[in-house]
Symmetry: C2
Subunit: 308 residues, 2 copies
């Protein structure tokens, strides 16, 4: 077997923004067109160790490779001086089933595809003249969502709110932009708002988002989470990366369960990226829960580039 | 990351019969006692390439490692001079979630755990004085089931039936035993019978098994398969490796759906191995569909042995 382990340095050398943007865009469009396989993931839990393991597989029709992603979160690893999250993506040949490579990406491909999906959809749904963005959240994705969006449209002004002021300050310092810590009202009131937190309750009342023409929520990756108030949804155009997944554990699902919006009103993100959008009169909301097919598409593109 | 790829030669060096028997026995007992995690597998299909991919994860409480197995079958690979089946088992640390190794086992750990589970259960359920076995099937498992059973109890007489006489002859030649090709009636009429075929219809009518005190069926690994006639089940003691899995796609499930036996009559194989059995008056039937937890247990034991 010629299976090889590809380390992060090798992955970084080929996984350019362009490669990731293209792969994620293709994955979202293909998913909207029914040209993907995205079976339900496998979950294992380790109560004694405070850990969990998720296995996701996905396939994009026509891609030369498909992927199986294994991601773990063990939340007492810090006591051992280890990062909480580990994982890898196994790349397999879609014509022969033969395992081709293990991408030991240390979680970065997931981070990049999440950033790329958010940036693509946020850019598509935000009016072209908007150059300010408000961010709720101070984690890795708070920074990456801004950086990747800035690659699609130059941002003149970024306002970041977090529960911890010093974390907001740190993210602002890391961004090569006019980025400043802000109050919740300032950040949520921007013309374009991105939420990127692990919150399980709405971050702010709907009134705080009064100035937002577009809101992208990317934090709801698992059941039980929620960032946006359900009352933000009535009258908005709702865009989802996966209808069933967003119903199950996205903010869209929370709004449907709250009874304020119908369960069939959402538009697939891939349709928005493929066809563009006529700017609606009301607000747009993108609920992005993370697409296993995007992992597979990025992994296939990375390994294809490495094989050249 | 210190992730390493372990090849088949390295695996063979530590995966002794004793190691595999112990790991599989522990897995079956733990599974019967509810000390395992065995979430539903992931399946992908590749109609254009004539392929499929199955991902199974399992965990045995207390084992130092857990496993994620990826197995593919691409049935046009022969045209390319490649084997149809590929796969590997990813071993992860159950305390930290960190990937520890890729066991590039070329499917052998699955073959061995299947042989060990069959041999353990067949041995436990067959009266001690029986030293003859009839086998229906001529594939790899037909040979391995006999070899691994022979390691637990010396076999004096093996009778093998297959649809293709030359295949039965070949298996007999490979066995260092008194093994001879036989008619379906001779093989199915042995005191101990093992079925190991990919059949989707019963291999013989119940009357052909009249002389069988015990029957082990190991071929029903996927929905749509079936080896044993439902009418063999009434009055028999039925042993299953996993209740839900055997109901879903084992011969036990076929018999339940045929309405000849209740859906709750089965006894867990792990209980039989743990407690032994008083030989019942009637026939015993073991329906073994293959346990992902056995993969995890064997992978953990192999990697533990390699790490010493």
């Amino acid at each position: 077997m010629t299976l090889s382990i590809v380390d992060l340095a090798e992955i970084r050398a080929v996984a350019t923004e362009e490669l990731v943007f293209t792969a994620v865009r293709d994955a979202l469009v293909a998913h909207a067109e029914g040209r993907t396989q995205l079976p339900p993931p496998i979950a294992l839990v380790f109560p004694e160790a405070g850990g969990d393991c998720h296995v996701k597989a996905g396939q994009l029709a026509g891609a030369p490779y498909f992927g199986v992603k294994v991601a773990t979160g063990f939340y007492r690893n810090a006591e051992r001086g280890l990062p909480s999250n580990s994982g890898l993506i196994l790349v397999l040949d879609a014509t022969t089933g033969v395992p081709a490579a293990v991408l030991a990406d240390e979680g970065w491909l997931t981070a990049w595809r999440t950033a790329a999906a958010g940036a693509l959809v946020t850019h598509a749904l935000t009016p072209p003249d908007v150059d300010e963005v408000g961010v709720l959240g101070t984690g890795l994705q708070a920074r990456l969502q801004v950086e990747w969006l800035h690659a699609l449209r130059p941002l003149a002004r970024v306002r970041i709110w977090g529960r911890r002021a010093e974390a907001a300050r740190r993210v602002c310092d890391e961004l090569p932009l006019d980025a400043r810590p802000a109050t919740l009202e300032e950040a949520a009131g921007s013309a374009c708002v991105i939420t990127a937190t692990p919150s399980t309750t709405p971050l702010a009342p709907a009134s705080a988002f009064a100035g937002a023409l577009h809101v992208t929520g990317i934090g709801t990756d698992l059941p039980g989470k929620g960032e946006l108030p359900p009352s933000l949804f009535p009258g908005a155009v709702v865009v989802t990366d996966d209808h069933a997944q967003c119903l199950d554990h996205g903010d869209f699902g929370n709004a449907v369960r709250a009874g304020v919006v119908g369960s069939e009103v959402d538009v697939p993100a891939g349709v928005v990226l493929r066809d563009g959008v006529e700017r609606p009169a009301g607000r747009t909301i993108a609920d992005l829960t993370g697409l296993g097919v995007a992992d597979a598409a990025v992994a296939s593109a990375v390994f294809t580039a490495l094989s050249r």
